[in-house]
């Protein structure tokens, strides 16, 4: 219960909104770590703090970042969605089917990708609520199903967008040298943040994570809102799929496994609690940036790929431990 510590909790209590309070310190901590990483890498290598490298970091954050934004919603309810990575792939394959196989216009492809994501989210949400299958299992199943479907639908081969040159513009058109994927990521972050803090979806989202039974007994249609939240997560996965396909100028059906875990890691580093009721979009954005800054910086310092993974894993554990320590004291 009220095991809030003195300094941290006092500082937090000064903040106006309840939802902001809980994650505030963690966000400050995460943000400080991000700045520190950037400073350390900048001092270690002159190649790090350069415009094109920073843009590269942003670009590599974008797709995982969008997945993480979506995952934040489900995780705040106390659930989890393990299928976002392969749903993303499935969506990009569907875009490929619509645009390349059926030769329909790009906007229809985009719509199809988003709808595919929404449909996958709906199925997950339906399994979790109506069938009472634990989120971990339901979305694990969805992860495998969509992974398989991607291969089936594409015939196990990549689908290229060579005949629709405009398609790669979705992610790679530039403004001031910044690719559009980066703008999409930050735009969606702002949107997600608004949904979470200013709409009733967001309020129900936190209520579900805080105490689902009390929410149900308050006359809230818990099933409906939970499905909505899984759909939101699915839509974000769909958008990520479109961004990914655009960036690679192809839909790669065997990609995507493991992305869900990176997205969850970003969410968790950002201070969102896996037990639900607590979290923020700003935290997730910072979490996603920390992951890609770390990967990028280590690569520039010529740390071998395999060791990069080891270090990122350590950071995830450390971040969660720091959060637990803060909460305990």
């Amino acid at each position: 219960m009220a095991e809030l510590g003195k300094p941290a909790a006092n500082a937090a209590a000064a903040r106006p909104a309840a939802v902001l309070k809980a994650g505030a310190t963690q966000k400050v901590l995460a943000f400080a770590s991000l700045i520190m990483l950037i400073v350390v890498f900048s001092l270690s290598s002159e190649n790090f703090f350069r415009f094109d490298n920073l843009i590269g970091i942003m670009l590599s954050t974008a797709v995982i970042g969008v997945l993480a934004l979506g995952s934040t919603f489900v995780i705040i309810t106390g659930g989890i969605d393990l299928s976002v990575g392969t749903v993303m792939t499935f969506c990009s394959v569907m875009v490929g089917v619509i645009v390349t196989f059926w030769q329909l216009p790009i906007p229809l492809g985009i719509l199809g990708g988003v709808l595919t994501g929404a449909a996958c989210g709906f199925i997950s949400g339906w399994l979790v609520t109506k069938m009472s299958i634990p989120p971990f299992i339901a979305t694990l199943g969805m992860m495998m199903v969509t992974k398989g479907l991607s291969l089936v639908v594409s015939g196990t081969k990549p689908i290229y967008f060579n005949e629709t040159p405009g398609f790669s513009k979705i992610s790679m058109a530039t403004l001031f040298g910044i690719p559009s994927a980066v703008f999409i990521f930050f735009g969606l972050a702002v949107l997600a943040s608004i949904v979470l803090s200013k709409t009733i979806i967001g309020r129900y989202n936190f209520a579900l994570g805080s105490n689902e039974e009390a929410t149900r007994l308050s006359g809230v249609n818990v099933t409906f809102w939970k499905i909505i939240i899984y759909i939101i997560t699915g839509i974000f996965a769909g958008i990520a799929g479109i961004m990914m396909a655009s960036r690679l100028n192809s839909a790669q059906p065997s990609l995507g496994t493991g992305y869900e875990l990176e997205a969850i890691a970003a969410v968790v580093i950002g201070g969102t609690s896996l037990s639900g009721g607590r979290g923020s979009i700003l935290g997730t954005v910072i979490g996603a940036l920390i992951m890609s800054v770390l990967t990028n910086g280590l690569r520039i310092l010529s740390v071998p790929q395999e060791w990069q993974t080891v270090i990122v894993g350590g950071v995830v554990i450390l971040a969660v431990y720091a959060d637990i320590l803060r909460r305990r004291k």
């Binding site: 009220a2 106006p16 009390a214 929410t215 006359g219 249609n221």
Partner: protein, 508 residues
């Protein structure tokens, strides 16, 4: 025996937004039963959590057997010999009694490779013999009564050779016979020289069992008195520091004959059997009975928290089908659970979110945008109207006292304009002063035309509040008493009336 075991001096504790303890003192002698009383939020639990190492104090000193000690965590407390038995028992239901008591300290055999179950059970038996407790070491905890589980907790505490035993509302879930047993055990412990801190709201118990009483109010130490030298009214006055709302109800508000709710032949499993009754406008209908009589289950079945097997429900004379709690809420029914933290509140969210959760749709603009200003205003109105003590509507609910949390739940349903409220144990875990306020609030609500079903296990509460009393036993309604007929004796008669003649032949 007059050696002082524990002495806490000038203890301070600060929580976000609240000064929980302000220079509090407490003293416990060996072989003494020392009551710690005060309203909820007075700081009793906080003080005891500091003594048991759950919280760290911000100021003050703790002396244990004359030495100043630091208690940074619960293990240190236990090693010193300080144990606490929480109101919510903390046992592992799927392990046996003996396994629970010696968890983490099991005797080993074969060089520590295996646990020695035989020795484990022998140790537990020896412990029970010492306490004259009739417990089977091999019994699964899940199958024990609450009273027996409590004995397991007490035995566990004593197995650590505890000299200080803190009991938080130990009788809350016990029957009278079980309470007598518990008091016999306490008596034995006292003779052994164990110091017992006894936290309770039940005044009659304090007179029966305690030697001294320490009173706290609003995080401050008020006084410590010899139990024999004070009467109950003095203690209550010290606790609340003000005159409390009269115990007897001043006058009864008129109840109209209009039936707002009618329930016919409601059944669910073995918990609710053929329950039929009606509720009138402006009425408080008391539901009395022993624990497990099925009263909560009736309320939850009406609200469709668990769907009933059969039964008809009429609201304002119209037949309604309630399939989910959302349906019930639509028909103007609100349910306030006895377990507010589990079923009533989102304790990690703020006051305004909790008050508005049942009404959010009303505040929806295009694209699901919330009218946040309106939500805040309405919550502030509710806070003023119900006199909820909180620094503001942005305060996180878990930092409020029990009475104020209950008001937040009431506020939630008032915001929803529910005109039928089903309130389960309205004052459970709420202290004397706040209790009176809740009573007054309920009186006010019915005089404004709301109708209330009040489930209560406290007979004085049932008698004081109800216009009419229904008594249940084993899932059936066994009696209906008008306000004039309702006495403790009459209620108890019906509450223990099994297989009643009123039951329609041929069922169940």
């Amino acid at each position: 025996m007059n050696d002082i075991l524990v002495s806490m001096k000038g203890i301070d504790k600060q929580f976000p937004g609240v000064r929980a303890l302000n220079k509090c003192n407490f003293e416990l002698k060996a072989g003494e039963v020392h009551a710690l009383v005060g309203e909820n939020g007075a700081g009793k639990s906080t003080l005891m959590k500091i003594l048991t190492g759950v919280y760290r104090k911000d100021g003050g000193t703790i002396f244990y057997k004359g030495n100043s000690v630091d208690i940074p965590d619960t293990r240190t407390a236990r090693e010193l010999g300080i144990s606490i038995i929480h109101q919510e028992l903390q046992l592992m239901p799927d392990l046996t009694v003996a396994q629970n008591i010696y968890i983490g300290r099991e005797p080993k055999k074969y060089r520590g490779l295996l646990t020695d179950e035989k020795k484990l059970n022998e140790q537990a038996s020896a412990l029970f013999a010492e306490l004259n407790a009739r417990l089977d070491p091999k019994a699964k905890v899940a199958g024990l009564t609450v009273a027996m589980q409590q004995m397991v907790e007490i035995s566990k505490a004593l197995s650590f050779r505890s000299e200080v035993l803190i009991m938080d509302e130990p009788t809350a879930a016990l029957t009278d016979g079980e309470i007598d047993d518990l008091f016999r055990v306490i008596e034995q412990l006292r003779e052994k020289g164990v110091g017992i801190v006894y936290i309770s709201h039940r005044m009659d118990e304090l007179k029966r069992i305690t030697d001294r009483i320490t009173v706290m109010r609003d995080g401050c130490y008020v006084d410590t008195v010899e139990t024999s030298g004070v009467d109950v009214d003095d203690i209550i006055t010290m606790m609340v520091g003000r005159q409390i709302y009269a115990v007897s109800r001043p006058d009864i508000t008129e109840v109209s004959e209009e039936k707002v709710l009618e329930v016919n032949n409601l059944s669910r499993g073995t918990a609710v059997k053929n329950v039929s009754f009606h509720l009138k406008k402006g009425e408080i209908l008391g539901f009395a009975g022993l624990m497990g009589a099925g009263r909560t289950e009736v309320a939850r079945a009406i609200f469709a928290a668990e769907s009933p097997d059969e039964g008809e429900i009429y609201v304002h004379g119209k037949r309604v089908r309630i399939k989910t709690p959302a349906d019930a809420v639509k028909h103007g029914i609100g349910y306030l659970s006895e377990d507010r933290k589990r079923y009533g509140l989102m304790v990690d969210m703020d006051v305004k979110s909790n008050i508005s959760i049942a009404t959010l749709r009303k505040y929806r603009k295009a694209f699901g945008w919330m009218k946040r200003e309106a939500i805040r205003k309405e919550a502030e109105e509710r806070v003023a109207e119900l006199n909820i003590k909180t620094p503001g509507v942005n305060q996180i609910v878990k930092f409020l006292s029990g009475g104020n949390q209950q008001k937040v739940v009431i506020g939630k349903w008032l915001t929803r304009d529910s005109d039928i409220l089903m309130i389960d144990e309205p004052t459970r875990g709420i202290d004397v002063g706040a209790k009176a306020e809740i009573y007054k609030l309920l009186d006010d609500l019915v005089s404004q035309g709301k109708s209330i079903i009040m489930i209560s296990s406290e007979l004085p509460e049932v008698l004081r509040m109800s216009h009419r009393v229904l008594v249940m036993c084993e899932g059936r309604i066994t009696g209906e008493l008008s306000r004039e007929e309702a006495t403790q004796e009459a209620i108890m008669k019906y509450a223990t009336m099994r297989g009643d003649a009123r039951v329609v032949a041929g069922q169940g």
